[in-house]
Symmetry: C2
Subunit: 495 residues, 2 copies
């Protein structure tokens, strides 16, 4: 067996003795002694037979494949354990399909829909989505598109039939060409794309099939009726299984995503500042993980939008009414991303190569930490308020405190030059070291900007609260706080 070894640690002596009877295969017995200088590479190649080498390759290949498979299945297993609803979804699709096959094995049902059960199978496979909203969206699109395209195709067919045998193929083919072209182009229109993308595929498909097949099949109307009823059966089975067995609501998913992301934003903001001001590097990694939570917010645009689109199709479920203002969640998401961009820049500054000395950091440490704590408290309160769908009694007070913290930080910044001057005098340095102060000032400035953006989140959540009708609070405490809060805002604007 070829052996490839690299010494990495130190100069060493390598001795190996292999007794005659230890090997049963075509390997040769060897005894050797090598002195290897530091850092060099030794490659020993044996003259082994082709069979042995092939065997070795095979063993290594199998081990590698085994490792890959084991790794893959471990990942898949973890996926299932982390979110058992995904496994459940698999079983639900299986169940819906098994229910459809009943139509094949139960003769009366089979004859009732006339052998076009294929369409029911197809409907279940393509309509069954993870969320109820997805199912409803696809089911509605499929049903309406089939009905519309079917009726138009019948109309075109009738016209073609009236024009005589000669023109029939021409009219049918050109109608397919024109309608398919127009429908395909319409998919590029954003509003149509969002709501009817799947419907247009089905429209083109049904129209082409009906328009063309009519040339061969005599009783088109009966066929259309059969096909529509099988598709309806498929959709009903889908919706039944999807809604009755552990439903996953797109709306609720969106709601939870926003709540979770809000908490992550709070945690990562705290993590960033801890990283910047605290020197002791124990639990460095855990903190670093914590401070990267904002990345989830940066990357959740696509899932927020798709979930909001699907949530619109959903009926009343849990605490969400039929016309729940899902688009407001998108606005909250946008304002959160807006804050996350700033946290990203803050993170960049904190991890940059130019670092302020601890003595300078100390001057603003308390104020920065206090502001971040207040910001995080506002975010957590917002998250709690959305989660419980209840107005928060302490939110206005917390925003007020956050703004006070901003003011404190600005006061501290104002007195920073004199503080530094004192320090410089103690250290007998003439000029003020602006370059050393720079990172701290930038961090303070970005924190101020972040607090402004958090107020944007507060506004977005406020409009969500109004439109979604969050449970009101009973005491009149917040009213007072709100007034003083507005005053503070003005004060700060004047500054």
């Amino acid at each position: 067996m070829a052996k490839d070894s690299k010494t990495t640690s130190s100069s060493m002596e390598w001795r190996m003795t292999m007794p005659d009877n230890s090997s049963t295969r075509a390997e040769q017995c060897v005894e050797w002694q090598v002195t290897v200088p530091e850092g060099s590479t030794v490659k020993v190649e044996h003259e082994t037979g082709v069979v042995a080498r092939a065997w070795a390759w095979l063993v290594r290949f199998l081990v590698m494949m085994k490792d890959k498979f084991v790794g893959f299945f471990k990942n898949v297993w973890k996926l299932g354990v982390d979110d058992p609803r995904k496994v459940m979804h698999g079983f639900k699709v299986g169940l819906a399909l098994a229910l459809v096959t009943l139509f094949y094995y139960t003769r009366p049902l089979y004859e009732g829909v006339g052998g076009t059960t294929m369409w029911a199978v197809m409907t279940v496979v393509v309509v069954f989505e993870y969320t109820v909203g997805g199912c409803l969206y696809k089911g509605f699109n499929r049903a309406t598109a089939t009905a519309t395209a079917g009726s138009i195709a019948l109309g075109v067919h009738w016209i073609a039939h009236q024009s005589g045998k000669q023109f029939e193929p021409v009219i049918l083919s050109s109608s397919v060409f024109l309608l398919a072209s127009a429908a395909t182009f319409s998919r590029f229109v954003p509003t149509i794309k969002t709501k009817f993308d799947y419907g247009i595929t089905i429209f083109i498909l049904t129209f082409s099939l009906v328009a063309v097949s009519g040339y061969r099949v005599d009783d088109l109307l009966q066929m259309a009726q059969q096909r529509f009823s099988t598709i309806a059966i498929g959709i009903i089975i889908c919706l039944f299984v999807c809604i009755m067995i552990r439903p996953v609501w797109a709306g609720q998913e969106l709601h939870l995503l926003i709540v979770r992301n809000m908490e992550k934003l709070a945690t990562s903001l705290e993590g960033c500042i801890e990283e910047f001001f605290d020197d002791d590097s124990n639990s460095e990694k855990g903190r670093s993980q914590k401070s990267l939570g904002y990345k989830a917010v940066l990357n959740s645009k696509a899932s927020e939008e798709s979930q909001a689109n699907l949530a619109r199709w959903e009926p009343r479920h849990g605490r969400f009414g039929f016309r729940h203002p899902w688009s407001e969640y998108l606005k909250v998401g946008i304002s959160m991303r807006y804050t996350a961009y700033c946290i990203e820049a803050l993170n960049g500054c904190i991890n940059s190569e130019i670092q302020a000395p601890n003595s300078v950091k100390e001057c603003l440490s308390d104020e920065c930490k206090k502001l971040v704590t207040q910001c995080a408290m506002v975010l957590k309160e917002l998250s709690k308020s959305i989660k419980e769908m209840a107005q928060s009694s302490s939110l206005d007070l917390l925003v007020y405190d956050m703004n006070m913290a901003v003011q404190d930080l600005q006061d501290a910044l104002r007195s920073l030059p004199s503080q530094l001057q004192e320090k410089a005098q103690v250290q007998n340095v003439a000029t003020m070291p602006l370059m050393e102060v720079l990172p701290v000032i930038t961090v303070a400035s970005l924190l101020t900007e972040i607090s402004v953006r958090i107020e944007g989140i507060v506004d977005a959540v406020d409009s969500l609260r109004e439109l979604a009708g969050f449970k009101p609070v009973s005491d009149d405490k917040p009213e007072k706080a709100s007034t003083s809060n507005d005053e503070t805002k003005k004060t700060i604007e004047v500054i």
Copy 2:
């Protein structure tokens, strides 16, 4: 007709005379004179009949509908004019479908594939995608999934048939349940989702159809063979039309997207700084539009990823080989987004309420503008280099200049306190107004961070250049610049 009028400009006298014979409808003849004070509202309501009101409502409704339709079609028309390839795509789909209908009208062809032409229509409708990569991805997935699922289904069928009439439905139904469940769950695995999502849908569909339909149809093998050949015909027609007539390559789209976004990044960076330092607000709007180009970079993650996924399926086209390193484009995209986050924060600081007085801005104006110009030049050079797929001879020099500009800015920051002290003495102010300097310092600090992130883009493009084999430059100028550049980097790091 009810008339609702609001005076907005000034106090006025309003006189209206309507002669008897001017109206043929149920309107009453009126003559009135009103003197309206400034800013007040006049609402004159006639006692008209129900018919007249309904008519008025109908007219208004029709006008509104007309406006909506006209607006919608203007938008659609603009969409087509802006990117005629989208219109072309519509016609291509129409053409492919028209070609398939030939199978219906040409009897020999029709009999050759035995009446299952439906599958060819269906294949064209679902496989035809905008880009060649999309077509190939779906075509490959459909073909392999149909073949695999078909053979497994035949095997299961044989086993079920051997077990006797009683067990046949049980075995078939449970196999559908198990395979559909497993396949559906596997779609949640990210690697499978990216490459085979569509294939799995087709796998479940084909397996269910074949496994179930065998209970009724005798000659399963022949049916499977027919279906496969029609699907193959559909795929071949799709690919033929898609590749032969004005093909849209996902790879090229990705390439152009990255080039365009890089330019937008440069322009918006320049726009932001112009906005900050220039006071004259003429062409304010155009500049604002310009400075928001980075938003395109922030939002292009999804399209970059999907295009890179599809580009992998494409054969050699234009200057892109079969194994062109598409994933490197994604890395360039990530580093660009990383820079865009920082530009976003910069934009936030620039538009914030706390603004530095012009006298303070002046101190750093030249250095900041110079740095931004250098940053933009580097970005534009990178964009040009990617666009032409050629190594840039001046890039290293430009990066060197950018780093020099960073150093200049830092020098200016170092001398800022003394400059401000002078100014304060001139204005007879005792303390240094740190709060007034804050925005400028933050902007300078963010610009430094942006230049660091641009170096990240340079590295990403460099690794793309290496793997994609950009055309080399002939002169040896860059080598020199590169060395001095490394030295500068070190100098700056030491600072």
